[in-house]
């Protein structure tokens, strides 16, 4: 597994990316077959999606609240607190929503997927599936990948909604920005396609694909030992975080 010499970090990283890409092709090829295991996808959607809901909602609320507070202080310097609704919405839709959701998703769901698959390999469950003539790529990898792909945009929408609510709570309810101004400025500036679809949906879809791919790949290729699983879990978080932020820049450059 780790046969490559450690000194060549770049070649190693490239090899990882390449292997990850090939693994993606394998998964995509298995997706039609995985539709037979639709129930498994639903079950995984429950684990990676619905189970992440609490942390996403709480964090979304706090991110919105912090944003509301900071913007109030900064904008009040220019007498522009009326714009805080707009800025909260745009900051959350374009950047904070997708990125923070993806980071949380990598920490909450990505690690558990990696650890689960790693343990399934360590305890021969993957081999047992092979022996029962069940393709583990179609039964284990693809449903988790699909579940992540579906769950991320939904989680991101929930995060954004809670973020707006948090911003409104602090800005309007506590700091006394006018309610109508808050909403009318927001609705006047925020655009469905540019902000909600491009920002929230496209970005979170891309992040969902990347995080799920990395999580499944790390779990699937880790040495089936306890330290291998622990190491793979760490790598999922590190690799996902880097990939999310790098991809965010690329997507922002192309989408916006």
């Amino acid at each position: 597994m780790n046969a490559q010499p450690r000194h060549n970090v770049v070649a190693n990283a490239l090899a990882q990316i390449g292997a990850c890409g090939l693994f993606l092709l394998t998964i995509l090829a298995a997706v039609p077959r995985s539709f037979r295991h639709g129930r498994e996808t639903v079950r995984q959607l429950w684990f990676v999606g619905a189970m992440s809901l609490t942390i996403i909602m709480v964090c979304g609320l706090f991110v919105g609240m912090v944003l509301g507070l900071q913007l109030y202080y900064v904008l009040s310097i220019f007498g522009g607190t009326a714009a805080s609704g707009t800025v909260v919405a745009i900051a959350i839709y374009r950047e904070l929503g997708p990125v923070v959701t993806a980071l949380l998703f990598a920490g909450r769901a990505g690690t558990s997927v990696t650890a689960e698959i790693g343990l399934m390999r360590a305890t021969d469950q993957i081999a047992a599936m092979e022996m029962m003539a069940v393709d583990p790529i179609a039964y284990v990898a693809a449903p988790r990948f699909l579940a992540g792909l579906i769950a991320m945009p939904l989680l991101c929408c929930v995060f954004c909604a809670l973020g707006i609510f948090g911003g409104h709570l602090v800005g309007v309810t506590w700091l006394g920005i006018d309610n109508g101004t808050f909403w009318s400025n927001m609705t006047a500036t925020v655009d469905v396609w540019k902000d909600v679809v491009n920002g929230v949906l496209y970005k979170s879809l891309a992040f969902g694909a990347v995080v799920s791919l990395i999580a499944v790949y790390q779990g699937y290729t880790t040495p089936p030992t306890s330290e291998g699983v622990a190491y793979a879990t760490t790598r999922t978080v590190v690799a996902s975080s880097i990939a999310i932020l790098a991809l965010d820049f690329v997507l922002t450059a192309f989408l916006m």
Partner: protein, 289 residues
């Protein structure tokens, strides 16, 4: 199996919640929220200049949204913008002598059309025209006098000093540029408070090249850009006598409170804030035919 079903139900709830959140984001927090409206009727207005007005911009009466801009077209015959306003049926009683004005919401905000009701008993019919209009007020034009161009003087090879007293220098500090006609001709050497006269004594180092500044010129503290730094502007007078090294400029204008000035101008949503009659009588409606 109940175990299987509970997953399915929970997952279903999760998906529904996600889509509900998406629907909320898309319809309640974006411009989609503004485009929904009931039955409406159309009124036309011709503006000499629409500034940055865009389609779907709001139409407001007394700051309350009553409709939106349906279309903007150039009327080649009149060299005027032909703006169609789509107004909610509920507000169909707009007097024919009402004035349509293009305002800016906030300093950096979008523009919108504000309608000030007239006193006529006749209402504008569907498809009718609002005869009285005022074009987009060019905030830039108004502020333009006030703001200088950028740049600073660094040619301090040979300078002479002038003094000027201000009751208020705002945020002016040493090193700030001194400009005439927008061009940097020197810099502020020091800013000191005078303990006796209780005002600010500002020493200006002016390039020797500009040695012919009339002695009745005025010095004013201006701000470059909306939130930029302050500088001293010299407005030349008409006297044949030039200012000499060490002279004090008599005519000064203290830092203008940008906020005060703009305050009058910023409607923040409501043409109703203006005194009735102030707009249309002081400046003749430009779009009037």
């Amino acid at each position: 199996m109940s175990q299987r079903n509970s997953y399915a139900v929970g997952t279903g709830l999760f998906i529904v919640l996600g889509f509900a959140a998406l629907a909320y984001l898309a319809t309640q927090t974006t411009s989609v929220a503004n485009s929904r409206q009931g039955r409406s009727y159309t009124v036309e207005a011709h503006f000499a200049n629409i500034g940055q007005l865009k389609e779907r911009a709001p139409v407001k009466v007394a700051g309350v949204r009553v409709g939106q801009v349906q279309s903007i077209a150039l009327d080649p015959a009149r060299e005027a913008a032909d703006v169609k306003l789509s107004i909610d049926q509920r507000y169909s009683k707009i007097p024919v002598d009402s004035v349509a004005t293009i305002y800016t919401s906030g300093l950096l905000g979008d523009q919108y059309v504000g309608i000030q009701y007239g006193s006529s008993a006749k209402s504008v019919a569907d498809g009718g025209t609002l005869a009285l209009t005022r074009p987009a007020q060019q905030l830039e034009e108004m502020l333009g006098k006030f703001f200088g161009a950028g740049g600073s003087a660094d040619n301090l090879g040979g300078t002479y000093l002038l003094k000027a007293r201000f009751t208020n220098v705002g945020a002016l500090s040493a090193g700030a540029p001194v400009k005439m006609a927008g061009v940097a001709i020197g810099s502020v050497q020091s800013v000191q408070a005078d303990p006796v006269k209780l005002d600010a004594l500002v020493t200006l180092a002016i390039d020797k090249k500009y040695g012919q500044i009339p002695d009745d010129s005025a010095a004013a503290v201006f701000t470059s850009g909306l939130i930029g730094t302050q500088y001293v502007a010299i407005q030349p007078g008409g006297s044949p006598e030039p200012l000499k090294d060490g002279d004090e400029m008599v005519l000064t204008q203290s830092a203008m409170q940008l906020e005060d000035l703009i305050g009058k101008f910023l409607v923040n949503g409501s043409p109703g804030d203006k005194k009735p009659g102030e707009g249309s009588s002081s400046t003749p409606p430009a779009g009037k035919q």
